[in-house]
């Protein structure tokens, strides 16, 4: 019988190491060769394929699947990476159920889409296992570009620029690259240090220098970047978090879900990571689900995610919601926090029920209190401080169709820029598109 630590409060080692290791294995395990062939064979090679339209990076899905089916997964990988250099990570983290697989005609036909994500992983893993990089750099252009942030947007932009012959310097605030691939994505989606392996592989094209511990706004100014480089790309994501704005938010064991996840992703030994016996998560998006599920997998006895609107309004996909429920996480909808209980340390969270009346969310009088040793806030990330020269729109850096900001010679993409969903794949698409536009404008100008 596996050992379970039922101690109240926030404690490490709630489960056996083997149990924890088991809990954090790959969510969608990799295919073996035969499985991949069978899965690939289900693709109809659609004309003007709907899946391709639904992919934010427009990967030629029918083509790459056919390349797998004919025994050339390396060629398939090249088809994928040509459009999406982080195709390996996207294969693991894309909410395919709301993207390519949602519109797959076999989903329409029988409710079982072609497993595009897993096939994509099979192809990209095969290529990466061969330790080769399928792209080479064009002749040097003599131009240099500054990229801020080594997350998916910045890396995608940097890679494309390097490929086109430009020299790239990436300024990254943290000591490690990858952005949320490294610090945010749920551990069971990116196993075996995949984010770092993919980063190293991506950089092997050459021409990209990453300067770690260098922050825009902290010793580096946009003006300086503009004058030192031929172009600037901003991909710094959303570095601030929304606050509840409630008394007691500063109590012990009340924290931001993203911090908990980042700590979890960096932990070398998951059993050393403390987690509450009873955990409450506030929010309704992917971050709330990931924090809740991972707390549960670490051994929290009760995990409850509380969302203020109805379930249909949750930003997390139904697949994610089901995953949470399957792991034993409780979802409570239509309840909003009104009090954080406890003397110094947290003991519970009080919620009031809500109701939508005439399209407006109304807080009702009736309340309930959930006992809690740990509270995670997952009510959204927001843009950190940004240079004044940039016009904002809806709390994000305003960009046009070509990812140009309001400042001359400055492009932006990913979570920090307006437009598009906050997804890894969208960040990759925007970084790539910005690179193409930077290239056009730099080369046209010469």
């Amino acid at each position: 019988m596996a050992h379970i630590n039922r101690e109240n409060g926030v404690a490490a080692g709630r489960l056996d190491p083997t149990q924890v290791a088991d809990n954090f294995t790959d969510l969608h395990p990799e295919y073996d060769g035969h499985e991949a062939l069978v899965a690939a064979d289900r693709c109809y090679f659609c004309h003007d394929a709907p899946c391709m339209t639904a992919c934010p990076t427009s990967i030629d899905i029918p083509l790459f699947i056919r390349q797998i089916a004919t025994g050339t997964p390396e060629a398939a990988a090249k088809t994928i990476l040509n459009q999406n250099i982080l195709g390996g990570m996207c294969a693991r983290v894309c909410p395919t159920e709301t993207l390519c697989e949602e519109v797959c005609v076999r989903e329409t036909a029988e409710g079982k889409p072609v497993e595009i994500g897993r096939l994509q992983r099979y192809a990209t893993d095969t290529l990466m296992a061969s330790n080769t990089h399928p792209f080479t750099r064009a002749d040097k252009t003599g131009k240099s570009v500054a990229v801020v942030g080594a997350g998916p947007a910045g890396l995608s932009c940097a890679h494309r620029l390097a490929m086109l012959g430009h020299d790239v310097v990436v300024f990254e605030a943290r000591a490690k690259g990858g952005g949320l691939n490294e610090f945010g994505i749920a551990a069971y989606k990116s196993t075996n240090d995949f984010a770092q392996r993919e980063l190293d592989w991506l950089l092997s094209i050459g021409g990209i220098e990453i300067r770690y511990g260098q922050s825009l706004g902290d010793g580096i100014t946009l003006d300086a970047l503009q004058s030192d480089f031929d172009a600037v790309f901003l991909g710094m994501g959303l570095s601030a978090v929304n606050a509840l704005g409630m008394d007691g938010e500063d109590k012990d064991n009340v924290s931001d879900a993203v911090d908990f996840i980042a700590e979890l992703r960096q932990a070398s030994d998951l059993t050393s990571l403390p987690v509450g016996r009873r955990v409450v998560v506030i929010g309704g998006g992917m971050t709330a689900i990931d924090a809740g599920v991972q707390a549960k997998l670490l051994g929290a006895e009760d995990v409850t995610i509380v969302y203020r609107r109805g379930q249909e309004a949750m930003a997390a996909s139904s697949f994610e919601q089901e995953l949470a429920q399957q792991k034993g996480v409780t979802l409570i909808c239509n309840a909003t926090p009104v009090g954080v209980e406890g003397n110094g340390s947290l003991t519970g969270v009080t919620f009031a029920y809500t109701e939508t009346q005439n399209g407006k969310l109304v807080t009702l009088d009736e309340t309930f209190t959930l006992p809690a040793d740990q509270l995670f806030k997952a009510i959204g990330q927001k843009l950190g401080d940004t240079p004044d020269a940039l016009t904002l729109e809806g709390g994000k850096i305003k960009v046009d169709d070509a990812q140009r900001t309001s400042a001359g010679g400055v492009w932006a993409g990913g979570d920090c820029a307006s437009g598009g969903d906050d997804l890894t794949v969208t960040a990759v698409a925007e970084g790539r598109d910005a690179a193409m536009d930077i290239h056009t404008s730099l080369m046209g100008a010469s």
């Binding site: 004309h47 003007d48 329409t108």
Partner: protein
């Protein structure tokens, strides 16, 4: 319940499913188990001359073509006739026939093309109590190089001659097994008939190279760096076999000659199709080699369910039933007009019909912005390509345009009467004949 009892050439068997002469029928151990599993009869693995038996290669003998999920679609082999001594086979056949008097046991034979050889071996084999003979004029590899098998089957005169020798040597039924490796199946069939054959069986395997090893640059199966052509069989050869069976069944010269249908029989439906085209029974080999003897149970239950549903009582009622509807192209009704119809409810919007028609046919399918696919009646020639490429069965169908209604493509109303190429104004011979 339909009666599946088969009476082919007076040889009765509990059902029309026989195992073809091949590894499944190579020895007593197999054949007993095949009968227990439900097979109606067997054609014993081809016997050769007395004396030291042939030897097989000691490397791989099979190559294969796979479909989705490694479903075996075609098999290729370079095996020879039995490699066990004649006396051993004869003793086993005698024992088996004694224990299974109600099952068919046919002896397949191949000896050199000499009268004495055939006349010596046939009566000797008859002593086993076997129900008849099948002359193997079909094996396309190895034996053919020695002047046997398909080397005989490709020369109608030899077929006729050897068949006659055999008929003179026995009163038992003689079936001539034909090779498909010829240009016109009617000639060997006619020769067999002329020689006095009681029936023909077809097809034996088709000359083939299934694949090439691109590293070693050798055909597969590869033996010490080299390969040779083998005999192709399994589901992939069924269409070829069906046509050859139908040709023999409908040709006036060979019509009525009993046929044992072979080639890719894998399910009850395959068997029913062979029989509808004139085969009195069927033989299978690859199906058993792929799935084991038990596969016959599906063939039995399927055929009997279908016969019940259709109201057929006996095998005789289905044999040859489709033969009158096999005709020459020139007699097809050119006034019969159909158009493709897409069921929007069933359509999953894959666009395959569009790509196929647009790129390779008649540009008769339109695709709207929101992926609605429609047929343009004024362009559709009713070729059926869209029906064949659509992944949803029954989604695209061919609708017959009623006589009197307009054919949008020609701009003329559909004519009621039957008219074929022989009388068509564009046919130079038709004009000359008038």
């Amino acid at each position: 319940m339909a009666d599946l009892t088969s009476n082919f050439l007076g040889i009765s068997s509990p059902n029309p499913f026989w195992l073809a002469s091949a590894p499944p029928t190579d020895k007593e151990y197999n054949v007993r188990r095949a009968f227990e599993a439900g097979w109606g009869g067997v054609v014993w693995k081809t016997l050769g001359m007395e004396g030291p038996p042939v030897v097989n290669v000691n490397g791989p003998r099979y190559g294969a073509i796979h479909g989705a999920d490694r479903r075996l679609l075609g098999l290729n082999n370079i095996e020879l006739i039995t490699d066990r001594p004649l006396e051993v086979n004869l003793a086993e056949m005698t024992r088996v026939k004694k224990d299974y008097p109600d099952h068919a046991l046919i002896a397949s034979v191949m000896v050199p093309c000499e009268e004495a050889a055939w006349k010596e071996i046939i009566p000797r084999i008859a002593e086993t109590g076997c129900d008849g003979f099948e002359l193997n004029f079909g094996c396309p590899h190895g034996m053919a190089e020695r002047g046997m098998g398909s080397a005989v089957g490709q020369v109608p005169e030899y077929i006729e001659m050897v068949t006659r020798w055999c008929k003179e040597a026995t009163d038992l039924p003689v079936i001539v097994k034909l090779t498909p490796n010829i240009t016109n199946i009617l000639m060997p069939a006619q020769a067999a008939k002329d020689g006095g054959a009681d029936a023909v069986s077809l097809i034996n395997t088709i000359n083939s190279i299934t694949s090439v090893n691109l590293d070693a640059m050798s055909p597969e199966p590869m033996i010490d760096g080299k390969g040779t052509h083998g005999g192709y069989c399994g589901p992939a050869v069924k269409p070829i076999a069906l046509n050859m069976v139908a040709e023999i069944a409908r040709n006036p010269g060979t019509h009525g000659l009993p046929i044992s249908g072979i080639g890719g029989v894998t399910t009850w439906r395959d068997a029913a199709e062979f029989m509808a085209l004139g085969a009195g029974n069927v033989q299978a080999c690859t199906a058993a080699m792929t799935y084991g003897f038990k596969v016959v149970q599906e063939m039995i239950s399927g055929l009997s369910q279908w016969m019940d549903e259709q109201g057929y009582n006996s095998i005789d009622e289905i044999v040859g039933r489709a033969v009158p509807n096999v005709t020459d192209w020139q007699y097809l009704n050119l006034n019969h007009v159909t158009k493709a119809r897409i069921s929007q409810d069933d359509c999953i919007k894959c666009g395959r019909c569009f790509a196929a028609c647009e790129d390779t046919s008649h540009q008769a399918i339109t695709m709207s912005e929101d992926r609605v696919f429609d047929v343009k009646d004024d362009e559709c020639v009713a070729c059926n390509l869209c029906v064949n490429v659509c992944p949803v069965e029954g989604c695209i169908t061919m609708e017959t345009i009623a006589p009197g209604a307009m054919d949008e493509r020609t701009g003329k109303p559909v004519v009621d009467e039957y008219a074929n190429w022989t009388t068509h104004p564009n046919n130079p011979s038709a004009a000359a004949a008038e």
